[in-house]
């Protein structure tokens, strides 16, 4: 069957009433949790993943797609109304969006974010559907050493290319890699670092780790700031609808954002929110109203939001076709796949096309449902932000532990949640990034397998890793991505890099 037929078939199955219902629950829960301050899409997906465990594979993937898009949309709502940069992918959205909200134009800001996300999500998901088969073909020529080189590149871009410090990024990554060693070695069946604890034989759960690192760590960090001044929530005044002028100024920004965001997400350089920054810069340069930038220009919300969504859909390209997660969100999605016993990659397209295309189709459905649901319900989501801090964070902890208990009701798992929550808190205090830990944890075992296969074929000769042209190019790019930022920072030009840091997904 052709791509198109598979996609149609997926759409038909996603349109069944029960599946639409799952998508509805997913989108609603995703938005609800994603809107909470300090909780980005990665955390949202990690928190809610266990909720989908009891459904059948199709149903849970559909709910999952809804949670994913809902979480992203919720994040941008928070940054427009609450100005919480540093949170999730929407740092740039907060720049102009919060200014618009303060000027009483919060409604149009939310609308352009929602519609822009929809347009970008739609185009990017279709692009994903049409590009994926080609990448799958390309992936078939990849051997273990090419995969290993690709993963090294992903490690470098996620941990050290962007952010404040190469040292701290790499340290986070290697903490994740060290934790990924725990459990039974997949090639020889030997126990490693499990110290006779049965709970550790299966390794450390990525979802537990993500919830501990993001949700618990963030809550502890906010608690430790004491009675700081409360964030001001901007009320939505006036109409949520965009005027004709708003539409006129937004639609080109949406399309440009999509074109910028998708390729960046699709390359193994996800993680960083470069796309949103590039889109912002582009809009600022092309705008007929440059004076409005910094005071609430609608293009400054429309473009980056579209870029953000397009690049999020873009990260699904390496995830689905190569099994390579390039962001924390993608890492947790990979964990979700593994939970159903599926390993994304070229093989999955061949053996289980219905499932892959079903997922892509449900992304389209979830995207549409978000648009229909969110604009009318935005008032409700805003109410969530007005919950007093004690109840809000206590509620976040309830949800955080609910997921873990639901996945595995063991005291040991809750203990891990506490221990790694404290580790994440300390890491936050010392400005260590969190996302590399999660990516290292899930990608570590995969990289190790490929490396050992490559070395087994070459009988232990390490030079073989560099002698394949594709692998050599990938490793050179990785080396460049590691060294260049070091040089830039040493010359005091690191500011741009730290601005591009991926906060959590």
């Amino acid at each position: 069957m052709s791509t198109f037929e598979f996609l149609l078939q997926g759409l038909v199955s996603a349109m069944e009433p029960m599946n639409l219902f799952y998508a509805l629950i997913g989108v609603t829960l995703g938005t609800m949790v994603g809107v909470l301050p300090g909780i980005g899409p990665a955390t949202t997906v990690a928190l809610l993943l266990p909720v989908t465990y009891q459904l059948d594979a199709t149903g849970s993937l559909i709910m999952f797609a809804g949670i994913y898009y809902g979480g992203m949309y919720g994040g941008s709502t928070t940054s427009i109304l609450l100005n919480t940069p540093g949170e999730s992918a929407s740092i740039v959205t907060a720049l102009e969006g919060n200014k618009m909200a303060r000027a009483g134009r919060g409604g149009p800001a939310l609308a352009t974010a929602a519609i822009g996300s929809f347009v970008a999500g739609l185009i990017a998901t279709l692009a994903l559907a049409f590009i994926a088969p080609y990448i799958v073909k390309l992936a078939l020529v990849f051997g273990p050493r090419e995969y290993f080189a690709l993963m090294v590149l992903a490690f470098v871009t996620v941990s050290s290319a962007f952010g404040n410090s190469t040292l701290r990024g790499l340290t986070s990554l290697f903490i994740g890699l060290a934790l990924s060693l725990v459990g039974i070695d997949q090639l020889t069946g030997q126990n490693r670092l499990s110290f006779g604890v049965p709970d550790l034989l299966d390794g450390i759960e990525v979802t537990t780790m993500a919830v501990a690192m993001f949700a618990i760590g963030e809550t502890l960090y906010i608690a430790a700031q004491g009675e700081a001044a409360p964030d001001k929530i901007e009320a939505i005044k006036g109409s949520v609808w965009m005027t004709a002028q708003d539409w006129g100024r937004s639609w080109k920004a949406w399309l440009r954002g999509t074109v910028i965001g998708f390729p960046i997400g699709a390359m193994p350089a996800g993680g960083a929110e470069i796309g949103t920054f590039l889109s912002y810069a582009t809009e600022k340069r092309l705008s007929k109203h440059p004076e409005e930038f910094g005071n609430g220009a609608i293009e400054g919300v429309a473009g980056p939001e579209a870029a953000n969504n397009a690049s999020a859909a873009g990260t699904l390209v390496p995830l689905l076709t190569l099994g390579l997660p390039t962001s924390a969100t993608a890492a947790i999605m990979l964990a979700g796949f593994q939970q159903y016993g599926l390993q994304p990659g070229p093989l999955l397209f061949a053996t289980n096309p219905q499932l892959v295309w079903g997922l892509i189709a449900s992304l389209l459905i979830a995207n549409l449902m978000l648009l229909v649901l969110n604009l009318p319900l935005v008032g409700l989501w805003v109410k969530l932000l007005t919950i007093p801090k004690p109840w809000l964070y206590a509620g976040i902890l309830v949800f955080a532990t609910l997921g873990t208990i639901g996945a595995n009701p063991s005291v040991f798992e809750l203990g891990m949640l506490l221990v790694f929550g404290l580790v994440a808190y300390i890491m936050r205090v010392f400005d260590y990034p969190i996302a590399p830990v999660i990516v290292g944890l899930i990608l570590g075992p995969l990289a190790e397998q490929q490396l050992r296969r490559a070395l087994a074929i070459s009988q232990g000769d390490v030079t073989v890793l560099f002698t394949s042209p594709i692998a050599a190019v990938l490793l050179s790019v990785a080396a460049l991505a590691l060294i260049l930022p070091l040089v830039l920072r040493a010359r005091g030009r690191g500011d741009a890099l730290s601005q591009m840091a991926a906060s959590e997904d």
């Binding site: 618990i216 608690a223 206590a394 309830v398 532990t401 203990g415 949640l417 400005d431 050992r452 009988q459």
Partner: protein, 164 residues
């Protein structure tokens, strides 16, 4: 340590003690990895690449990063840390501990409701006689929704048996 005396001109010269502690922790993790995989050393087989190879590389990298961290500590490369308040953190940790202890004995709602109350106390809502019961009722509703409707396996206690 003696960080607080002599804060004037000598401050630049003093190492960042906390960063040195981090370096020590990295070395400790590396040591644990070396010790644990030592017994797997001879499993390399034909290609000399076995279950101990990658752990050893990772441990060496951790030691390298620890050395780098020591240099950064002496150059005071770490960003200035904001003042942390440990009281609220202790409340939240107490809540998580309480949930951990209670979950097997008292079931989901009582354990998680207690977590709710103690965590809220960490954020300033100190009236536990209100917040814990409220938390328990909310958690009972959550239990009903997630265990009943979505069939998640949340541990049941006396309260959950009442509504089953």
């Amino acid at each position: 340590m003696s960080l607080d005396n002599n804060k004037t001109s000598t401050e630049q010269r003093r190492p960042d003690w906390a960063a040195l502690v981090i370096a020590a922790i990295l070395v400790a993790v590396a040591a644990v990895i070396f010790l644990d995989v030592d017994r797997l050393r001879d499993m390399g087989g034909y290609s000399q690449v076995g279950p101990a190879t990658v752990p050893n590389w990772i441990a060496f990298a951790l030691i390298g990063l620890a050395i780098w961290t020591v240099f950064a500590a002496f150059r005071r490369d770490f960003p200035v840390r904001e003042k942390q308040e440990f009281g609220p953190v202790a409340w939240v940790v107490a809540g998580l501990l309480a949930q951990m202890i209670l979950i097997r004995i008292a079931g989901f709602s009582i354990a998680t409701g207690t977590l709710f109350g103690l965590a809220a106390a960490g954020f300033g809502a100190r009236r536990l006689w209100i917040s814990i019961p409220v938390g328990i009722v909310v958690c009972l509703a959550i239990w009903w929704l997630f265990a009943g409707v979505l069939q998640l396996s949340l541990p049941a206690g006396p309260l959950e048996h009442l509504i089953q």
